[in-house]
Symmetry: C2
Subunit: 360 residues, 2 copies
């Protein structure tokens, strides 16, 4: 059976102050009426039943995740007591699924990307499942055709075509995974025409992951096994705390993918956006005649190229402003030159330094 594992542990600062430690990006309603996490679940509708969805998230936001996804039972939300990168997250979910369904196939998905249209996404996942049915130890990834030499994404280099139905999305052997490159290298990748952005979505058998972890990360797997074995015991919380904390954090890329040999990359037939910044919101939401993207109550006089985020209870007024970002939230307002947006990290550092952690 096909199961979904949604990774919802992220806690970036890029959307500060809209995003906070207790309200990370995936829980925000920035791209529409539904949060990105909710949209990720919605996107599986008709492909994977709600009862076969697992969400792995951080303990601090598990209640908020549960509130946003009332269709999931508490046992479908795995709450990590601390952050240990993606390998333990995926390993834990794979173990939990394999306990009930040893032959399970998993689609592992980030919870904070925008993917459209849904039908094309589901078609691509179905194709991945067929590729795995044909060769069960395959790892199938989705590659996004790069549109510019991005230095902020990992790349997948494709090799020979993988034979398949003519109507199916193009599939290739993946010959190499590349970490985020320098821009010059990214330019070479783009020119070569054989590189994709790594979307972070994988389809594979739970068994494939667990076998790889047993081989590459045996200690991690033992910790995770103790957690899953005790999950209905009285001391489940204590075991989880102790065992998960003891794990050495590592990404799935380092732990599994770089050693794997049977990887296929499907050229994504869908559009993909990792919504990495407010500028992505402007891209996704579009702009008005003045080049502004506005969410919430706003009056703009002589205002152009701005991104304004407020809410129904608070009005933001801008006057004589160009290419600025204005984000009003309870407790904090951020006003920035749109092109300096990346420096929000420095802002967060200074807030922490001053002890103003109530707004972090």
């Amino acid at each position: 059976m096909l199961h979904a594992v949604i990774m919802a542990g992220g806690s970036g600062t890029r959307f500060w102050p809209e995003s906070r430690e207790a309200r990370p990006k995936q829980l925000l309603r920035l791209t529409g009426e539904r949060s990105m996490l909710q949209s990720t679940v919605d996107r599986l509708s008709g492909l994977i039943g709600d009862e076969r969805i697992l969400v792995v998230t951080g303990r601090g936001i598990a209640a908020a995740v549960s509130e946003q996804l009332p269709q999931l039972t508490p046992s479908q939300i795995l709450a990590e007591p601390c952050r240990r990168d993606t390998a333990p997250c995926i390993g834990w979910a794979a173990l939990a699924v394999a306990e009930r369904d040893p032959d399970a196939t998993l689609v592992v998905l980030p919870s904070d990307h925008v993917i459209e249209p849904v039908a094309e996404f589901q078609r691509a996942v179905e194709h991945a499942v067929r590729l795995i049915d044909a060769e069960p130890d395959r790892i199938v990834t989705f590659g996004i055709k790069p549109t510019y030499p991005a230095a902020i994404y990992g790349y997948i280099e494709r090799g020979a075509t993988v034979a398949g139905d003519k109507a199916a999305p193009a599939s290739f052997r993946a010959v190499r995974f590349r970490e985020k490159p320098q821009v010059e290298t990214a330019r070479e990748y783009l020119a070569a025409g054989t590189f994709y952005w790594n979307s972070g979505i994988f389809v594979w058998k739970a068994r494939t992951i667990l076998d790889a972890l047993a081989k590459q990360q045996p200690a991690m797997l033992e910790h995770l096994q103790r957690i899953v074995r005790s999950s209905t015991a009285n001391d489940a919380a204590a075991v989880l705390e102790r065992e998960f904390t003891a794990i050495r954090g590592i990404s799935i890329d380092y732990a599994v993918l770089e050693q794997a040999t049977n990887i296929v990359v499907i050229e994504a037939p869908f559009t993909w956006d990792d919504v990495g910044s407010w500028q992505a919101i402007a891209r996704l939401r579009g702009t008005d005649e003045q080049g502004n993207t506005v969410l919430g109550r706003h009056v703009g006089v002589n205002t152009n190229g701005c991104i304004v985020r407020s809410n129904d209870e608070h009005v933001v007024v801008t006057l004589g402003l160009k290419d600025c970002l204005v984000v009003h939230t309870d407790g904090a307002t951020f006003v920035a030159n749109k092109h300096d947006e990346e420096a929000v990290r420095e802002v967060v550092r200074q807030l922490r330094e001053r002890g103003w952690t109530d707004v972090l």
Copy 2:
């Protein structure tokens, strides 16, 4: 006896959203720990006893005025039911004082100016009182030596010196009052060296004002007399409402000063600022090393020449911002290019048009 009449009816939009209809500029704490109204009262300490101070204000803010000035009794706060410019305001106060003290001398003061030092201000008022003791029908005004060709102030042209104590501030006959001029005219005034800015502060006998009103504005004076005569009657509120509303609004300049002949202008020995804009706040409060003026909680990264106003409960963060004004208040945040500040009127117009009067 010397009495003070403080005019606190103003309701400008220049400090929106810090100033609101229910919280005009004179009630704000923008220049220090005390509001400008409180500072105006403080400035009289030692010169005029609290019991000889009258504040004339609008009905909508009378309670707030009373709260800021607990040393005044309710009868010392005259609440206008509607706005009728400065002549009825001063006339009403003059009548109210003259009832108890027919020979009273009044110093009439705006409530939203910054004047320093207090000792020099008091010395100037004392000199004005001496000038009136010498010639009781005099009207004494205070002229501010202009520092640039301002088109936003009225001017007083001085004539011959008025003889006085050598140590006293220089005094002259006032030969003409000029409305706010064009900049070219203001330049001529500045070059002539015989023009002052009109500070809006006057010292005169209550009788002088009432005689002038009896002659120039007899209908107004009758309305005001009916109000004062009924002030302790059961129908006081109804009489006030009816009679004050019936008055034709006019400024004291048009109603009295332009027809008056015995006016003296004292060259102010104090510094004076009418705090007409946020830029005045920067001028009065000073700027930090980055050229910013900050009131409230703020983190600035690569921020220069900005004026930031927040409070202790809300942090404003600015990043890559130059010469901007950021004012955060409950319900509304204003972000503007500092040089476009005057256009706040257009902002207020648009807010009214949209029906968002809750923030006006």
